[in-house]
């Protein structure tokens, strides 16, 4: 019986070994070795002393922070609206979920037509008389970060909406009925029932979308170029432009480390049972 159970696990174990453990181990090994030298931390030293490294870390954190905040607020708002079963719910659901089916590189191209100097946003603001000349939405660093975060929110919010909507639908309706009977206001119901019971879904959404935000790649590259480095594009440029697979691997390891630290810290704060539940 035990042998059969182990045999049943074999495909999963093979899959994880070949497609997760082996590539990660190989990346770790590449990051800490160099041809003709052997084991070395030179790649990490080069990265840490690079003038764009600190900026890439900060940019990644800022985009993640702004993006996640925006996505959670919009996703929660949309989920609450749809959970109330409004008229036209089906159409709204479909429209809200459309960006989820758009490949990221296509969404980046779409966002360029919105935020470009000759894009729709500038055209609309010019026609409304709100601006006198087109705004370069990706010209200054902080404005570029906000632009990228907004573009990312367009793509990711539907996923958060789906997770939170599922969480909302799992909350028993009797709890709200009891609260209404006791005279609780809408806000009181939201803070006393909805938010606490939605915590596992919020945790899941934050982890899934947080990891995704850390790995953001196509949007900053397509919208701003290499002038706005984030950790993923930073590794990409090292690999493709300069042909340094070892330094690129070291950059990937740093990104992996940041993701692990953030997820573990969040689990420590939120409690792992929220995810395992």
């Amino acid at each position: 019986m035990k042998a059969r159970a182990l045999l049943g696990l074999l495909p999963l174990a093979t899959y994880l070994s070949c497609l997760t453990v082996a590539p990660v181990a190989s990346t770790l090994a590449m990051s800490a070795t160099a041809p003709d030298v052997g084991i070395t931390l030179e790649h990490f030293r080069r990265i840490v002393t690079d003038y764009q490294f600190g900026e890439a870390v900060i940019n990644t954190l800022v985009i993640t922070g702004i993006g996640l905040t925006l996505e959670m607020l919009l996703g929660l708002g949309a989920a609450l609206a749809l959970a109330g079963r409004p008229v036209g719910r089906r159409i709204f659901s479909i429209l809200l979920l459309v960006p989820l089916g758009v490949p990221t590189i296509v969404s980046a191209a779409v966002m360029r037509t919105v935020f470009g100097t000759v894009g729709y946003l500038n055209e609309a603001l010019l026609r409304l008389g709100a601006i006198r000349s087109p705004v370069d939405w990706t010209g200054e660093r902080w404005l570029a970060l906000v632009t990228v975060a907004v573009a990312d929110a367009w793509k990711v919010t539907p996923l958060i909406l789906l997770i939170l909507l599922a969480g909302l639908q799992a909350i028993p309706g009797e709890l709200y009925e009891a609260a209404r009977t006791d005279g609780a206001s809408g806000w009181r119901q939201f803070f006393a029932i909805t938010l606490p019971l939605l915590k596992p879904a919020v945790t899941m959404a934050l982890i899934v979308c947080g990891v995704d935000a850390f790995r953001i790649f196509a949007l900053p590259l397509a919208l701003v170029g290499r002038g706005l480095p984030v950790l993923s594009t930073y590794a990409y440029v090292e690999y493709l432009e300069y042909g340094n697979p070892h330094t690129a691997a070291a950059r990937g390891v740093i990104l992996l480390g940041m993701i692990l630290v953030t997820v573990l810290a969040y689990l420590k704060l939120a409690g792992p049972e929220e995810v395992l539940r």
Binding site: V118, G227, E241
Partner: protein, 414 residues
């Protein structure tokens, strides 16, 4: 009953034998076809539209003439050395011929990845332009043969220039003046510099430095420093798209009219004018710096990897790619400059002024020095542009440490 069983067993054995024979025949047949129809693997880095012409118009005549198949795959110049190394180390070279950026040849030669060509193999048709025939020789040995020369020309939006009564700039002073005029009139800069970093930026920077009389590989050279001072002065008047502009996005900027003047390779001519219908786009060779007019000659050369399985066939394909017929096809369909002086007959009339601009730019052509530390040089030069143009750091503060890094690199690698 027993005899029925034995008859059935005999019949099963016969069927099995027949099947085995059929399988053998199929295998032998396939092997025979494969032996009669060898496959040549070629790598290039091309845009989608370029691949279409190569696959539809360039390779089929060769396949018919040589009774072979050509498997053409896209490999970027940065990745090619790694691929070749991996195949060589594995003892299984699968690439027969590659087209490589003429600035990334040193590494291939230094690592022993490319075959030297000898005797008749180095012979070239008399129509190949002498300046191009001279390239491809490293350490006094010929390793590469010319395939596709390239030179950047200046594209400008004729309608916008006419509307503002401007002439295309011929000097740095006129360029600055044109850039200022657009910025004042439209609120945004309309002159594009390919400032994304990496190869596009360094190619433009290289020719600007040479046209100022500087040494691009010496960031401390007075004329190199002067080039950065000029770029710093020009930066506020450049198109905002400059910061993410590279070869392909420059075409977008010109097509969408977010830029009115930009330098780029000639592949944009058929794309912008024939495909996008942007008939207001005109071209000329570009502007001169304080010392001279200079344009980097880029492009791809052809090489045969060490251990290539079909060397003779690869050499025949090189001759085919250099032939007048194919060079004319590439010039007329893709706007590629040609390696031959006799391959301009098939051009459509609308392309002739643009080809004239290319030939004019070629006359001021300069080859970049092939140095083993080119990838590192690109990184340092890109950092200089990023800091001085986009982060607005003072030239005298940003440049000296980068010049020192580059100087160390030269001393260490030469």
């Amino acid at each position: 009953m027993r005899s029925d069983r034995s008859r059935s067993a005999v019949s099963t054995r016969r069927r099995a034998r027949c099947l085995a024979l059929c399988a053998l025949a199929v295998t032998l047949g396939v092997s025979a076809v494969e032996a009669a129809d060898p496959t040549l693997t070629v790598t290039m880095r091309l845009a989608e539209a370029e691949w279409r012409v190569i696959r539809q118009d360039v390779l089929p005549p060769f396949e018919r003439a040589c009774a072979c198949r050509v498997r053409a795959i896209d490999v970027s110049p940065e990745i090619l050395p790694q691929r070749l190394k991996a195949m060589r180390d594995a003892g299984r070279m699968e690439i027969d011929l590659f087209a490589q950026d003429n600035m990334r040849l040193q590494e291939l030669v230094e690592s022993g990845l490319v075959q030297a060509l000898e005797g008749d193999e180095t012979r070239m048709d008399a129509a190949v332009l002498p300046a191009l025939a001279a390239s491809g020789v490293l350490a006094d040995r010929r390793y590469f043969l010319p395939f596709r020369p390239n030179v950047q020309i200046a594209y400008y939006n004729g309608a916008k220039f006419d509307a503002y009564r401007l002439r295309p700039p011929r000097t740095w002073g006129e360029l600055l003046s044109v850039a200022k005029t657009f910025k004042e009139r439209e609120g945004l800069g309309r002159v594009l510099f390919q400032g994304v970093g990496g190869a596009p930026t360094v190619t433009q920077l290289y020719e600007w430095i040479v046209s100022a009389g500087g040494d691009p590989l010496d960031l401390g050279h007075p004329a190199t420093v002067a080039t950065f001072h000029f770029l710093r002065e020009l930066a506020p008047y450049l198109s905002p798209d400059s910061r993410r502009a590279k070869w392909d996005t420059t075409n977008d900027a010109l097509a969408q009219e977010s830029a009115y003047l930009a330098q780029n390779w000639p592949f944009g001519v058929p794309l912008l004018i024939r495909d996008y219908g942007k008939h207001a786009i005109r071209t000329y060779s570009g502007w001169a710096g304080p010392a001279r007019e200079a344009h980097v000659i880029g492009g791809d050369v052809l090489g045969i990897p060490v251990g290539a399985p079909n060397r003779d066939l690869a050499l025949r394909l090189i001759r085919h790619l250099q032939s007048r017929e194919i060079q004319e096809t590439l010039a007329s369909r893709l706007g590629w400059p040609t390696i031959r002086g006799d391959a301009v007959g098939a051009l459509e009339p609308w392309m002739r002024p643009h080809v004239a601009a290319v030939q004019d730019a070629m006359r001021h052509g300069v080859f970049r020095e092939n140095v083993p530390y080119w990838a590192e040089y690109e990184r340092i030069a890109s950092e200089a542009v990023e800091r001085i143009l986009w982060r607005k750091e003072a030239v005298d503060e940003a440049l000296p440490p980068l010049a020192a890094r580059l100087s160390d690199l030269r001393k260490g690698r030469r």
